[in-house]
């Protein structure tokens, strides 16, 4: 059962996700209180262990905010993150959990709007489920 205020862990790439979160805050956009933000040097650092640990500790969902394909400062870090997320989604489905618990979200540094929108979409998905 998902509470009204779901706990979401956002792993944010320092190059894109973090500035986007800060942009959203500076614009005063609505973000849920249950959002926990973890900055990482690269989206590709969001390792399987982190994502599973977050779910294990009771997070309702995990989001990985990384750079768009073709814009990673470390060439392919974002692609690795995406592959990892897709793999974990498959696994979740196999054990009967919703794959929507882990999502990969590419963002640009100056797109606070999109950041808030994606988080809201995730909240809606969780509450709708």
């Amino acid at each position: 059962m998902v509470s009204k205020n779901p706990k979401i862990v956002a792993f944010c790439c320092e190059e894109s996700g973090m500035p986007a979160y800060e942009h959203a805050v500076s614009l005063g956009l609505d973000l849920p209180d249950g959002l926990k933000v973890v900055a990482l040097p690269c989206g590709g650092k969001a390792e399987t262990g982190y994502l599973m640990k977050a779910l294990d500790e009771g997070a309702d969902a995990v989001m990985v905010f990384a750079c768009y394909e073709g814009n990673c400062k470390y060439v392919r870090g974002n692609i690795r993150a995406e592959k990892r997320v897709n793999y974990l989604r498959e696994r979740l489905e196999k054990i009967g959990l919703s794959p929507e618990k882990i999502v990969f979200c590419p963002v640009a540094p100056a797109s606070g709007q999109r950041f808030a929108e994606l988080v809201q979409r995730e909240v809606d998905t969780l509450l709708g489920a």
Binding site: D33, K36, P41, K45, A46, N71, Y74, R80
Partner: protein, 452 residues
């Protein structure tokens, strides 16, 4: 609410600065004139430059661009005397008939192997610039036949005094420049065709036709030169499908559908006949040997050009201390290529110009050799080619716990000078042998445990 969330930031932390001394030296290698410009600028800034060209003289680097320089003052201003200046520059060591065949090492400590004639010689340097000309790979959509020349062969083969092409006695009467037949989005040939076309027309009375898919004018003063070309009698057509090039009466024949003709009676076909030569824009690419050198440094090659197709790498490569210029970066008109090359030279200067650098030994990844299984995962993943698996003999012996003293051990090792601390290796290491010193896994896991 905005800004109320629990946030774990990357620890700013005290940095552990380590002074490294980097000799201000570079090797500039290649056959593109952009290399000469880079060498000159860097040498003027006090960097010890070794310039390697595959020819007996520096003049041969510039020679194929002489016809463009005759047709365009701004190119002349760039290239006219650069070969002379560089050949007399006291800060540049010139190595002729040399080809760079292998690079190993890291920023500040590269070992470069060059083939000089029959011999192999090793050079040591802090930074490397590769300014390569492209080789014609193919003429897309145009069957190879007599009278059809790749653009670069045309440029290097023309005699500036007589206008005659290599192997011919006099200048051609009618020339067609056939552009854009390939898929790649390049404008160098369009600009060169217009400017060289005007030169041929004025100097030798050659009738010039230019056939293109799009008229590319996004170069300084190009629109004005295009106008000058039309006024001097050069005829420009836009075609839809790649024109047919075939044997005609008294020369070659080119047939195509005119895309610019506005007519409600359907498409209009145009035939140009009795042509002496068809100059076709080829696809340019790096030679296999050169591509191999880049591949070994794990500089990605996309579509025949070097460096990742990624805005984060403007004018540089993921390998610290190595830059690529000339057609190897992207085939460009000489003035554009000069700008790209000099911005790459600036990147290189930042890396080697200062002499001593402060390297942060804290914001990096570290391998625990006792856990390393030498699976090479990190080696394959590292975007900066900063991890090597090394077996150390006498010195720097990695000792595992419990191993006998003096035992040599193979383990991965991070080169801290070039590590950016992105953590990709740490997140993929199956043995969990790698940690970011400044941001260990425990920080993230503790945060999750506390806040959920």
């Amino acid at each position: 609410m905005s800004g109320q969330q629990a946030v774990l930031r990357i620890p700013a932390g005290t940095s552990e600065l380590k002074e490294v001394s980097i000799q201000p030296s570079v090797i500039v290698a290649g056959d593109h004139p952009a290399g000469l410009l880079m060498a000159e600028h860097l040498a003027d800034l006090g960097v010890a430059v070794t310039l390697m060209v595959p020819f007996p003289t520096l003049e041969e680097v510039v020679a194929p661009y002489r016809v463009i320089a005759s047709a365009d003052e701004s190119v002349a201003g760039l290239l006219q005397e650069v070969a002379e200046r560089v050949s007399q520059h006291a800060g540049i060591t010139r190595v002729t008939q040399a080809d760079l065949v292998d690079i190993s090492g890291w920023w500040g400590d590269f070992s470069v192997q060059a083939r000089i004639g029959e011999d192999l010689k090793t050079f040591h340097t802090s930074g490397i610039a590769m300014a390569y000309r492209g080789n014609p790979v193919d003429l897309p959509g145009i069957p190879v036949q007599e009278g059809v020349l790749p653009f670069t062969d045309f440029l290097s083969g023309i005699n500036l005094q007589t206008g005659a092409l290599a192997g011919k006695a006099e200048s051609p009467k009618q020339v067609v420049f056939l552009l854009d037949a390939g898929e790649r989005d390049e404008k160098w040939a369009s600009v060169a065709a217009i400017r060289v076309g005007v030169f041929l027309k004025r100097k030798f009375g050659t009738q010039v036709f230019i056939l293109c898919r799009e008229l590319k004018v996004s170069v300084d003063e190009m629109e004005q030169d295009y106008r000058a070309a039309r006024e001097s009698g050069i005829i420009v057509f836009k075609y839809r499908q790649t024109p047919r090039v075939e044997k005609g009466s008294g020369g070659l024949r080119v047939v195509f559908e005119d895309a610019a003709a506005i007519s409600s009676h359907g498409p209009s076909e145009i035939t140009l006949d009795a042509l002496d030569v068809v100059v076709a824009q080829e696809r340019l690419g790096l030679s296999e040997d050169r591509a191999e050198v880049l591949r070994k440094l794990r500089i990605p090659l996309e579509d025949g050009v070097a460096g990742p197709n990624n805005p984060q790498f403007t004018g540089r490569t993921p390998k610290k201390g190595v830059v690529v210029a000339g057609d190897a970066w992207f085939p460009e008109y000489p003035t554009d290529a000069a700008m790209t090359a000099l911005s790459a030279a600036q990147e290189l200067y930042k890396w080697v110009g200062k002499g001593t650098y402060q390297v942060d030994a804290y914001r990096v990844a570290e391998v625990d050799p006792s856990k390393c299984a030498t699976c090479l995962t990190c080696f394959r993943i590292c975007p900066h080619d900063s991890i090597r698996v090394e077996r150390y003999g006498e010195r720097n012996v990695y000792i595992t716990q419990g191993a006998k003293e003096g035992a040599t051990w193979e383990a991965a090792r991070v080169k801290i000078e070039t590590c950016d601390g992105c953590g990709l290796c740490a997140s993929e290491c199956p043995a969990k042998a790698i940690q970011l010193i400044y941001y260990p896994d425990m920080e993230v896991l503790d945060f999750l445990a506390k806040n959920l």
